[in-house]
Amino acid sequence: MSDLLGLTAATQAELIASGEVSGAEVFEFWRGRAAEDDLGAYLWVEEETPADPGRLPPVAVKDLFCVEGVPSSAGSRILEGYLPVYTATSVRNLQEAGAAVLGKTNQDEFAMGSSNENSGFGPVQNPWDRGRVPGGSSGGSAAAVAAGTAPWAIGTDTGGSIRQPASLCGIVGLKPTYGAVSRYGMIAFASSLDQCGPLTRDVTDAALMLRALEGRDPCDSTSLGLPEAVTLPSAERLDGLRFGAWGLAEEGLDPGVAEVCRRTLDRIEELGGGVQEIELPSAGHGISAYYVVAPAEASANLARYDGVRYGYRSPHYDDLLGMYENTRAEGFGEEVKRRIMIGTYALSSGYYEAYYGTAQKVRSKIAQDFAAAFEQVDFVVTPTSPTVAFELGERTADPLAMYLSDYFTVPMPLAGIPAVSIPCGLSEGLPVGFQIAGPAFSESRILDAAYALERTIGFEGVPVP
């Protein structure tokens, strides 16, 4: 049964379909693996094997997805012990496709962070080097898949929270087009950016999971689904496809990471693809725009945590205002408070136009940059993260340095377009991620290109015990 450890989710699904193993055996195996997690990747692990575990291996679910009757805290003390009364549509779609919930994974509090160090329930260690961060905010999901304590996982990406941890842990992470997957039941961070997507061992698994996740949902009026069914990737060559490389000359990009990415560009050419440098003149301002838009939306979304309807209530108060202020002061972590402050400031009278109005125009400029790029090329490719996994504690004292971890991943959600990160090699013995972005709803084409590259790169995951 330990053979399952080395298999992709798609291969395990084939074994279940052919009757070689039962869904219950597969679930039981992964439940055992998840229960042995010692990286801090899980906040909760299912104890019972479901009566009918289904045709797919079980899935690890980021804590911020509501699952009925299962602790769902979004990594925050203010929601400790909260038991949702309904299940997120994305999770329900996976369950209906045959993937049961294996456990809830650790994350930065309310998905605010790039290292998982902002979790209210402790950090997560990177399985490649336990002294380093797994990335964030979907750090638990990425670490679990990389360490073989989950066959696959879901996370959310607002400014890079799927792709950056996937990059730092040496796995595949896909942020779909905004609207491809329902946000219903995702504990909200920044509603115009948040999107659910897969973190998987390989590209085929990402496609298989996206097929189950996507779809229009009457409970999320901004959801559209994908216009065409997701095809499983099969490309062996990249003939005729044009790749626009962005960001390889950016200051702040680690030279080791740049070199591995350049080698990946060579591989694209070996497979018949064309590579050219492209300009995205406004994308470098993505972090600036993001740190207005996301905190502004967060400050509104997080107003609901007031100690009245659910979650934590401070015992220290004299009146209603004091109850609100102390509940939020004691329940939220440092980074969440910082973002609520930035967002409230940016939306406050007299500053709204200068910050929020300007940031929304920058979003338009970035979307125009991508639209112009996609007239010349089929895909925009970049390093996913400017560095490999950094040390625990290395950036916690400098919020801005932490924010810049998302330099290459922030422009895509601002423009609403999909992007995948695939592992493309090692630098200093740690994984480097390569990002492929395409126009809205081009997921199948992106995954096809990623698949061809994945085959030629032949990346070997972390050796798991």
Binding site: L83, S192, S288, Y310, D319, L320, L321, M341, L400, G416
Partner: protein, 95 residues
């Protein structure tokens, strides 16, 4: 730049009680972030329409079909303080 008084004002708007240590730290920390944010002013944004949402959707309508809503006891199950079938809160005017 954001000074100590503005931090206090924004904290009040945000319903956050800050500790002395936070009040000491936040003006500098937030100013540094806002300085970076303000670099977006370098872009020429003349005539650019703001993006409020990336999906072009308007008036997503559905049939108005009655269906059961969440039972009261389940809605109240996670609340810190419940009385008489409702959420109980301290008096707005003090005890």
């Amino acid at each position: 730049m954001i000074d100590r008084d503005q931090v206090l004002h924004v904290a009040r708007l945000s319903r956050l009680r800050l500790t002395d240590e936070e009040l000491e730290r936040m003006p500098g920390e937030l100013s540094k972030i806002l300085d970076h944010v303000e670099k977006m002013d370098e872009l020429d944004l003349e005539g650019i329409e703001p993006t409020t949402h990336v999906v072009e959707l308007q008036n997503v309508l559905r049939e108005d079909v009655p269906r059961p809503s969440l039972p009261r006891e389940r809605a109240l199950a996670g609340a810190p303080d419940v009385a008489d079938g409702g959420f109980r809160v301290p008096s707005p005017g003090g005890s």
